[in-house]
């Protein structure tokens, strides 16, 4: 049967070539894997994966010595827990067949039906399982980002429960709204290239809620809470920058001009924001700090995330120039003023930078860069800014409400925070029975 009609296919193909039609269109019902695209997205997946250990170092270096393992553990726990949750239900909630524009159906539960063939709904040239993996890495880092807000005080068992609930009830639905076929924000035309709303606003705002619900860290006297190891924070920032190329360029889902464009603006915005943050510090107190440059890099990467596939290099410079001082202002002034204890500035950088990026996308997006996108305000389409505003608002309302509910429910079962004494001793010892460093000549412990 098959061979009998093969000639017809072949002739059609040849005719199509002759008439200059793209062959891929004809093959839409049987999409073919492109090895270059597949190589690119698999490696991009690995790059996004290494961002979470990078985040672990970035955050881990910023806390006090006694909490470094507790902080790193939160990132690793996200990697372990979300990897399993995603395969079981997370992916299908996010990307399964749409239900009411709100959530995906259970078709791909437990990876059933996910094969090495492409799923042309999302990516016609790479295996479906590669798409699953690529998206998984986004789910992991999103919930890991939140942990910066309540660093140095949450009980580990609560954290585990929080991660599972949050990724299921906040991340997965949000991913569906924005990226899922027939998700309502996608249908509305909201632009979010690589996760400004889904990843950064959602984690930033949830962090804010969580740090308010948990309350400030306790400090006897004026005990300062200063980074204990900035070199590993800098390394973490380097790994984040590195992995973010996979995050943003990979979001083109192919090794093409769009990916290249996203790559270019990602790097440019990160660099510009590092400079503009450092400049803001310098104007404020006369020094440019290493932590400031690292923070500026991250702020720039956050801001460009939703915009990466839609804006020009010039726009990315503009965004970088604004987001650096903006986030610096948020973490150095607003936080102190309002008095919440967003320990490592998950909200101040990811929340604020993410909101800015999502709105800036509504202004600076250009169909010249990406014909599949929309023009922004600057290119004559004020409507897009409105759409972005709606997406931002929806994300804020949804994420903060559900986060609040999750924490309140959890607090019924057990205290969210470690005790005062445990906080003084540190998470490493009290939550994990470990000491991060043993640099001394004289050891403090004896084997039993």
């Amino acid at each position: 049967m098959k061979t009998k009609w093969r000639w017809l296919y072949t002739i059609t193909t040849l005719l199509m070539v002759m008439f200059g039609l793209p062959i891929i269109a004809a093959g839409a019902d049987a999409p073919v894997i492109d090895t270059g695209d597949t190589a690119f997205i698999m490696i991009s997946t690995a790059l996004v994966m290494i961002m979470t250990p990078g985040l672990a170092l970035f955050y881990g270096g910023m806390v006090r010595k006694k909490n470094v393992l507790g902080t790193i553990m939160q990132s690793f726990a996200c990697m372990a827990l979300v990897s399993v949750q995603w395969v079981l239900i997370g992916y299908t909630i996010g990307f399964g067949p749409d239900i009411n524009h709100l959530i995906g159906g259970m078709q791909w539960m437990g990876m059933s039906g996910v094969t090495g063939d492409p799923n042309p709904l999302y990516s016609a040239t790479i295996p479906h399982s590669v798409f699953v993996l690529f998206q998984l890495m986004f789910a992991i880092i999103t919930v890991a980002l939140i942990s910066g807000a309540f660093a140095e005080r949450m009980r580990f068992s609560i954290f585990v429960a929080f991660v599972l609930l949050w990724t299921t009830f906040v991340y997965d639905p949000l991913a569906h709204w924005v990226w899922g076929v027939d998700g309502w924000l996608r249908n509305l035309g909201a632009l979010d290239f690589a996760g400004g709303t889904v990843v950064h606003i959602s984690s930033g705002i949830s962090g804010l809620i969580a740090c308010i619900v948990l309350g400030r860290r306790r400090a006897s006297g004026a005990e300062p809470m200063v980074p204990h190891n900035l070199p590993i924070t800098m390394l973490g920032a380097g790994l984040l920058w590195f992995g973010w190329f996979g995050f943003n360029a990979g979001s083109a889902l192919g090794a093409n001009g769009l990916a290249a464009s996203a790559f270019l603006v990602t790097n440019t915005c990160a660099a510009t924001a590092a400079i503009s943050w450092a400049a803001a510090e310098w104007l404020h107190h006369g020094k440019t700090t290493a932590l400031g440059v690292a923070s500026g890099v991250v702020a720039g990467l956050v801001a460009i995330t939703p915009a990466a596939g839609f804006v020009s290099p010039a726009s990315s410079i503009l965004m970088g120039l604004i987001v650096g001082p903006l986030c610096y202002f948020a973490v150095s002034k607003i936080k102190t003023k309002l008095g919440y204890d967003d320990s490592l500035d998950a909200f101040g950088i990811h929340g604020v930078g993410g909101i800015f990026g999502a709105l800036a996308t509504g202004v600076l997006a250009s169909t010249e860069i990406n014909p599949a996108g929309f023009d922004g305000l600057l290119f004559g389409n004020p409507h897009q800014l409105l759409v972005q505003l709606i997406a931002v608002a929806a994300t804020i309302v949804f994420a903060s409400t559900v986060t609040f509910v999750i924490l309140k429910v959890l607090s019924v079962f057990a205290p969210l925070r470690v005790s005062e004494e445990e906080e003084e001793t540190g998470l490493d010892l009290t939550q994990h029975g470990e000491d991060a460093y043993s640099y001394g000549n004289s050891l403090s412990i004896v084997q039993v």
């Binding site: 006297g221 300062p224 003084e424 001793t425 412990i445 004896v446 039993v448």
Partner: protein
Amino acid sequence: MKKIEAIIRPSKLDEVKTALDELGIRGMTVSDVKGRGLQETEKQYFRGQEHIIDLFPKTKLEIICQDNSAEDIISRILSICRTKKKGDGKIFIYPAERVIRISTREEGGAAL
């Protein structure tokens, strides 16, 4: 002159510094030590091997002062560092014979 040596909880250092500032006592030397006394041990695990911590991180404060300011300093430290729990620390007092400020070669009270 006296040397006051206080072994305290690290978290109390800031308050002690402030309190001594109020007394006009600024000079002090601080170091990280580990110690044990009545404080109870905690456990650590490495790949299932249990270890007990029997030396706890402490802060050692050394203040050389005139005989007559010793009492004030001691009572300040006591009032701040006392949580009444084991592990609060100890204060030791030793005799000191001489003190010299290197920058000026001043000695005795003038050097403090």
